[in-house]
């Protein structure tokens, strides 16, 4: 595995950041980029990462709503979200929105100091814009208070209870999920279906169709799917390998050589889509309102995707391909990318990529093609896509090439994701 990595990473130091100069001008992109960085440092699992990403964006959005009538508060579509207890006043709403974002973010991340340092830099940036210091401070205070109100709502989302519920207990049923090499980590976030959803009523509102019935028989559909995956994996060409690596997005991948084990932190699948989102906002010169709306919709979609997807994962508790293939086809086989520690069905990346693309296709004027350089930080070269949908499709199929998901998981997951994306749009976007 390590060798593969090194071979496919050509030296492209010059592309260190994927953004043009205007990156510096959009504070909401800066905030989200910083948050992606902190999430990576703090090793959140993908579902938890989606939680960390969504609430700060909602906080910023709600503050901007007060200042700008064009935006409509999410209190309503999100039934349990109370309206902020503020009226419009003489402050800078951009600054307030930014500090509402960071206030909520600090609550959610572990490495608070990274956000605190960021806040200092941001304050200086505002100062450099010749805004009156008193106004800045007032606006910051406004943002902090708004953030605190949002936090009161956030902490009722059942997270702290969910985290200490019974850890996943291995199931003896035939075909049930088993831990996978090399770390044999227990399945993560088994009770994520109990996290309070935002726009859906429950985690089971948008279900994928049922998985292919498990079977070890050679003439079964399940076996055929596994053989498809296995034969594909045995003959991966360079392009397929590149695609598998590009969308790997495993936030905490471990490498083990005897006692020498180490972890590489990577952007989570959700984080990857937020990179794409930020890039689009920059490329299209979105103003703060449009930027906030875009981020908020995408992160709500991600949040809902994980709840819905995780709910199905632990409903079906499907075995990973490597477990199946090792026991029935090839005891030596390992997937091209590392299997993450949770059940197979459906593919999370397929769900959330479809959800994100569905939302972005609607918000971003089409046609829109773009070059995605999100993975440059680990030296994976950029890839160009004709549309968000094309990217989502590639993200989805990357799981098949990578050898960690079967085809039905991709297709049914993507269906589920599109439904979630459309539902989010319907609840939040089309209402105006």
């Amino acid at each position: 595995m390590k060798k593969n990595w090194i071979i496919c990473f050509v030296n492209l130091l010059s592309f260190n950041t994927g953004f043009s100069a205007s990156f510096k001008d959009n504070y909401l992109v800066r905030c989200n980029e910083k948050l992606i960085e902190v999430v990576m440092e703090d090793l959140f699992t993908p579902p938890v990462a989606s939680r960390v990403h969504v609430y700060p964006n909602i906080a910023a959005y709600e503050v901007l709503c007060i200042g700008n009538a064009q935006l409509k508060s999410l209190s309503g579509p999100i039934k349990h979200l109370p309206k902020l207890g503020f009226t419009k006043t003489e402050i800078n709403y951009s600054i307030a929105a930014e500090f509402a974002f960071t206030t909520v973010a600090k609550k959610l991340v572990l490495s608070e100091y990274m956000i605190t340092d960021f806040e200092k830099e941001e304050k200086d940036l505002w100062k450099n814009k010749n805004i009156d210091t008193i106004l800045i401070n007032k606006s910051i205070e406004y943002g902090i208070q708004a953030g605190k109100q949002i936090i009161e709502w956030v902490i009722k989302d059942n997270y702290i209870q969910v985290k200490t519920m019974e850890r996943y207990v291995l199931c003896d049923n035939v075909g049930a999920w088993k831990p996978t090499a090399p770390a044999y980590t227990n399945a993560i976030e088994p009770h994520w279906n109990l996290i309070r959803p935002l726009v859906t009523d429950s985690s089971s509102q948008i279900k994928p169709v049922a998985n292919v019935p498990f079977s070890e028989k050679k003439n079964s559909m399940y076996y055929k799917n596994a053989m498809d995956l296995y034969t594909t994996s045995k003959s991966l060409d360079t392009l397929k390998k590149t695609i598998a690596q590009f969308w790997d997005c495993n936030p905490n991948i471990s490498f083990s050589e005897g006692h020498l084990t180490y972890f590489i932190h990577k952007i989570s699948p959700g984080g990857h889509w937020l990179k794409i989102t930020g890039q689009a906002c920059i490329n299209l010169n979105f103003n703060e309102l449009k930027t906030s709306e875009t981020y908020t919709l995408v992160t709500v979609g991600l949040f809902e995707s994980f709840i819905s997807c995780w709910s199905e994962k632990y409903r079906s508790q499907a075995m990973r391909p490597e477990t199946y293939i090792n026991s029935l086809i090839d005891p030596q086989w390992l997937p091209y990318i590392q299997t993450p520690p949770f059940p197979e069905y459906p593919s999370g990346h397929s769900v959330l990529s479809a959800s994100s693309a569905t939302i972005l296709m609607e918000i971003i004027p089409q046609p829109y093609s773009y070059t995605d350089s999100s993975e440059m930080y680990i030296n994976i070269p950029p890839r160009t896509f004709d549309s968000f949908n094309a990217a989502a499709q590639e993200a989805s199929v990357s799981r098949f090439y990578g050898g960690i998901h079967y085809m039905p998981s991709l297709n049914n997951g993507a269906d589920q994701g599109r439904k979630i994306g459309n539902y989010v749009l319907q609840k939040i976007y089309y209402r105006k």
Binding site: L13, L110, E112, T164, G258, H265, L328
Partner: protein, 1076 residues
């Protein structure tokens, strides 16, 4: 003990094992790069002075000629023995051609070039020069070799070779890939024989060595780091114990006497060290049976443990056990030989479980007091298991490295891994299965990265000096000052065998000194790690001045010599030995297993439930406390019958004894109907005064959190013929309990009940409810609240009624987890409102029994505690503590156990486990380092601590409480052999009919968390009462052998003979009777 370091400036030993890293050879390309080199000792020129040979991994080996007075001369070049090119590892000496001169065999590894891996055999020309002849002898093996062992494996008289190897790539060292085998069973994939990486077996045929690996069955695929060759099963043929690194468990290859070997490690050992490195095999308690030590990499310091050791993964541990990788723990194990081909790990009791990343153990008598001490080398150039490095720092480095494939960057990455030199360890054997760390006091506290080490009397003064091969430093040469201090005597032997085995490898030497002490040694200098020790058999004999000696040669010939004087070296020549006359003396053991004779064929079934999934900080699980057993005549035929409780979803079972002493299972629909409850306590008594035995069953366990009604106390009424119906007399008494004590405490003519609450399911640390139920003509009244302190007295594990103050009224005696010995005195039928507690007896008690053990007419008590042989330690000065609260207000109860080290009480939980239980603390402890030194005062706020409940343990011993007749007790610990396992069950009787009360005890605990490992050292123990004191009888004498997770023992009369019935978790019911 006292040693003086002899500096290289004086000794002339200027060798340094410097590891030259390069593009081709670095930690990333060869994971074993810092495993270090070995050292061999032997008198190569027969001048009476032992010479030294060191291997250098990437630097030339060195041969030093001993000039006397601890001065040495480097003759490597003139002797032509620098080891040549390649990465050198182990070294051994052997007179392979029987010419009277020691030859040298050097192993090689690491490099991909086969020619650079060919092992080397230096044949001694007898004139201080050597000629390389590996190929000629068939020994130019090109495996990735660790160490070679020359031993007569097929008992044909000549020395064969076992070569310990390892695979070259570590990427999959910890992977367990599971697949269907040909029989259709899921099994772990076992690598089959592979060229150059499996162990190899070479048979000596007229001094040409023939590779018989495949036919021998020794072609294993594992990361072998050391081996012990000895006769483990006493059949006269040598067996091979192999220490394996990482996931593969250690192997014990039993010699099938036909040049084939079969791994039977699990028949002999209950668990293993996970990353086994060096090993030694010697008799630490002079009982005639050799004991085994294998080393791992657990740091001694708790803060370092928390930085360097990953929290246990319960599922992965179970998976390894399930697929044949044994029970393995990250710690040293010291396997005490029970003498019946079983071993018990006593490392916690002995005080040697943690010596950092350790390589060589040497068990030898360094102070000549007649007891084998322990020297341990340790150190790894870089702390690659540093959790912060692994989880956080490796990432940023790797991301830099990804951008260039240059190895310089890899090296740069490695250079930021923390790197510390550490002290090696020297332990003095205290003679009671415990060892004392005397490293500093002996002058051996010099930090180093040390690997291979040996002992040898380099200055011929009668004590064992220590020589250590170090990375980046000159070797340690420690001169032993025992003889200089004239503190003790010694006696040494040189063995002279025949031409084929000139040094007598495999001979057994025994001595007996006038003080009655016996010692034994098996001669094989090739042990420890990568190294070869001195060619003598050395005994310290303390103040004795003579010894009787006997030697048994590998061919079975024996020679005995009486009254050899001390402080001398003797030659023992095989020519003087004679065939032995076998005397078959068989002692008749007191106890014998009679399970089969009784037709009881019942295995306790345990439902699958993992308490740690809800409560990751538990010290052990509560869903595996069964079975319980109750004994009584239920059908009025005057023979004992018994009931054994079932686990959740498994019904309890009633066995009826017939007149011939055989048992039959009886169908009991009322009991079957209650199978959903887990039975943890049971007792027969006459609840309704109709003259028969009714059955009381207590429900318990941990399986139904938040469902109190799943823990009813149940009473079943007997119709006099052993048919039971559910009684309504006990209703709405719910607790997850265990203890039952029955007695007519108010003397009103019917039997009253005490029920002890054991645990609050899902909320360990909270106090469950106990009950006192007063019997009024078959109707029970809950009078618990009449004694306000009783209901929440603690986590009760056992209760008895016992008249401790001799006033004719039985008092209620309770013990429990985190509880002291607690006695409610009974004053004329009323229990005292406040219990009497013994302040220095807060224990993790499992059981309490009563007997007049000192024969003074009053009732004494015997308490079964957690014992000294676990990770958990606590005494009055340094108690084990637990704080309990819902610190994060999320509805789950958080319990944090802390233990003292160097005067500081640290939480024992690893960071990942603590943060898993209390997510909010993740913000506080961003790194492993942040948490490593934290005490509860840094973890919690003063307010949180004030609101938490606090529990303590200041006594962990299995002990007797001697009564002064008035109910005042003095603790007197049971013998050390009774301290190697938690005692769960005690039965007292005068078993050997000498007029003095004896005890049999049983125990263990397999339900522990996976970091410290299960307590499985117990095999049962017969304690012979000898007025005031108990003498622990070895199993070889007593025959009392009850291995497994023993949870209860009860006396039972079978065919009118007293027997003991033993219940084991996930084990078969065992019945032990008296032989006569």
């Amino acid at each position: 003990m006292s040693f003086t370091q002899i500096k290289s400036e004086y000794s002339g030993i200027d060798f340094k094992n410097i590891i030259l890293e390069s593009n081709a050879l670095n930690e990333f390309t060869y994971y074993y790069l810092y495993n270090g080199g070995g050292v061999a000792v032997g008198d190569i020129n027969n001048d009476g002075l032992p010479d030294l040979y060191f291997t250098g991994n990437t630097v030339p080996n060195k041969l030093y000629l001993n000039l006397g007075n601890l001065k040495f001369k480097d003759i490597t070049d003139s002797a032509h023995v620098n080891g040549g090119d390649g990465y050198k590892t182990g070294v051994t000496m052997v007179d392979i051609n029987g010419d009277g001169f020691l030859d040298i065999y050097v192993c090689k590894s690491a490099l991909n070039d086969v020619e650079l891996r060919r092992n080397i055999l230096y044949i001694n020309n007898g004139n201080l020069t050597f000629t390389e002849k590996a190929k000629e002898y068939g020994l130019d093996d090109a495996s990735f070799s660790t160490q070679a062992y020359f031993y007569d494996m097929d008992m044909d008289g000549d020395l064969d070779m076992f070569l310990l190897n390892h695979p070259s790539e570590m990427n999959f060292a910890n992977n367990v890939l599971v697949g269907y085998d040909k029989e259709g069973n899921l099994n772990a994939r076992k690598d089959t024989l592979r060229e150059n990486v499996s162990c190899r077996y070479y048979e000596n045929i007229n001094n040409v060595f023939k590779d018989e690996t495949i036919s021998s069955g020794l072609g294993t695929y594992s990361f072998g780091l050391s081996a012990i060759i000895d006769d483990f099963n006493d059949d006269g043929y040598p067996d091979i114990y192999i220490c394996n690194d990482v996931k593969e468990p250690d192997y014990l290859f039993i010699n099938n006497k036909n040049k084939t070997f079969t791994n039977k490690a699990e028949d002999y050992f209950k668990h293993f060290s996970y990353s086994s490195m060096g090993s030694d095999y010697a008799d630490i308690n002079n009982d005639g049976f050799l004991d085994l030590i294998t080393l791992d990499m657990l740091p001694e310091s708790y803060p370092r443990q928390k930085i360097l050791i990953a929290a246990g993964n319960y599922d992965n541990f179970n998976k390894l056990a399930k697929y044949g990788f044994g029970n393995q723990y990250v710690k040293n194990v010291l396997q005490l030989n029970n003498g019946n081909h079983t071993y018990s790990d006593i490392s916690y009791l002995a005080g040697v479980p943690a010596t950092e990343w350790s390589w060589t153990p040497l068990l030898a008598d360094f102070d000549n007091d007649g007891l084998k001490d322990l020297y341990v080398t340790n150190g790894y150039l870089r702390d690659v298991t540093d959790m912060d490095f692994m989880m956080y720092n490796a990432d940023s480095i790797k991301k830099v490295v990804f951008k260039s494939s240059k190895i310089d960057d890899a090296m740069k990455a490695l250079s930021v891994v923390p790197s510390f030199k550490l002290q090696n360890y020297l332990y003095k054997n205290n003679g009671n299965l415990t060892f004392n760390n005397v490293t500093k006091a002996s002058g051996m506290d010099i930090p180093s990265w040390s690997n291979g080490a040996i002992y040898a009397d380099l200055d011929n003064d009668g004590d064992l000096d220590i020589i250590v091969n170090n990375i980046y430093d000159t070797p340690f040469l420690y001169r032993n000052n025992t003889t200089e201090n004239k503190s003790a005597n010694f006696i040494r032997f040189k063995l002279i065998g025949d031409k084929k085995n000139p040094s007598g490898i495999g001979a057994v030497v025994k001595i007996e000194t006038p003080d009655g002490k016996k010692q034994v040694q098996h001669f094989n200098p090739d042990k420890g790690y990568l190294s070869c020790n001195e060619w003598f058999v050395h005994f310290g004999i303390g103040q004795n001045t003579i010894a009787n000696v006997s030697i048994t040669w590998p061919n079975g010939f024996i020679q005995t010599i009486e009254n050899d004087s001390a402080n001398a070296l003797y030659s023992l020549n095989i020519k003087n030995a004679r065939p032995s006359v076998k005397s078959e003396e068989k002692n008749v053991a007191l106890f014998t297993d009679i399970t089969k004779l009784t037709n009881v064929n019942y295995k306790q079934k345990e439902n699958s439930y993992i308490d740690f999934k809800l409560e990751p900080l538990l010290p052990h699980q509560f869903s595996q406390m069964g079975p319980c057993i109750a004994v009584a005549d239920v059908n009025g035929d005057n023979t004992d019958d018994f009931f054994t409780g079932g686990s959740k979803d498994n019904e309890g079972s009633l066995f009826i004894q017939d007149s011939s002493g055989k048992f039959k299972l009886k169908n009991e629909p009322a009991i079957f109907a209650d199978k959903k409850f887990e039975d943890t306590g049971a007792a027969f008594f006459d609840a309704d005064n109709d003259g028969d035995n009714d059955l009381l069953v207590v429900s318990g366990g941990n399986e139904y959190p938040e469902m109190p009604t799943m823990y009813p106390v149940r009473l079943y009424t007997n119709d006099g013929k052993g048919n039971f119906t559910k009684s309504n007399a006990l209703q709405n008494i719910f607790t997850s309990g265990k203890a039952i004590a029955i007695n007519d405490f108010d003397k009103d003519g019917d039997q009253d009940i005490f029920i002890g609450g054991r645990v609050v399911p899902g909320h360990y640390g909270l106090i469950p409810s106990s009950y006192l139920l007063q019997n009024n003509k078959g109707n029970f009244t809950d009078i618990t609240n009449s004694i306000p302190s009783l209901s929440k007295i603690g986590m009760v594990t056992d209760a008895i009624w016992s008249d401790v103050n001799g006033d004719g009224w039985k008092d209620l005696v309770l013990v429990g987890e985190w509880m002291p010995l607690t006695i409610y005195k009974n004053y004329n039928g009323k229990l005292d409102s406040v219990p009497t507690i013994m302040e220095n007896s807060y224990g993790l008690w499992n059981t309490i029994q009563q007997a007049d053990i000192d024969g003074d007419g009053d009732i004494d008590l015997i308490g079964g505690n957690i014992s000294f042989n676990t990770r958990y330690k606590g005494n009055e000065q340094y108690p084990l503590t637990m704080i309990v609260s819902d610190f994060d207000n999320n509805g789950s109860t958080d319990c944090v156990i802390s233990m003292y080290q160097d005067g500081v009480s640290y939480p024992i939980a690893y960071r990942d486990n603590l943060l898993d239980q209390m997510v909010y603390l993740k913000k506080k402890f961003l790194r492993y380092r942040d948490y490593a030194n934290a005490t509860i005062n840094e973890i919690f706020t003063p307010l949180q601590l004030r609101n938490a409940s606090k529990l303590k343990v200041n006594d962990i011993a299995n002990t007797t409480f001697i009564n002064d007749g008035k109910g005042n007790f003095t603790q007197q610990y049971l013998p050390v052999k009774a301290q190697i396992f938690p005692i769960n069950a005690i039965v007292s009787d005068d078993f050997n009919k000498d007029g003095i009360i004896d005890l049999v005890v049983g125990g263990n605990d397999y339900s522990t968390e996976v970091e410290s490992g299960r307590n499985d050292a117990g095999i049962g123990l017969f304690l012979d009462g000898t007025n005031n004191k108990f003498k622990a009888e070895p199993v070889t004498q007593s025959g009392f052998y009850i291995p497994g997770d023993v949870k209860c023992m009860k006396k039972i009369m079978i065919h009118n003979k007293p027997c003991i019935i033993v219940g084991k978790n996930k084990g078969a019911i065992q019945i032990v009777g008296l032989t006569n």
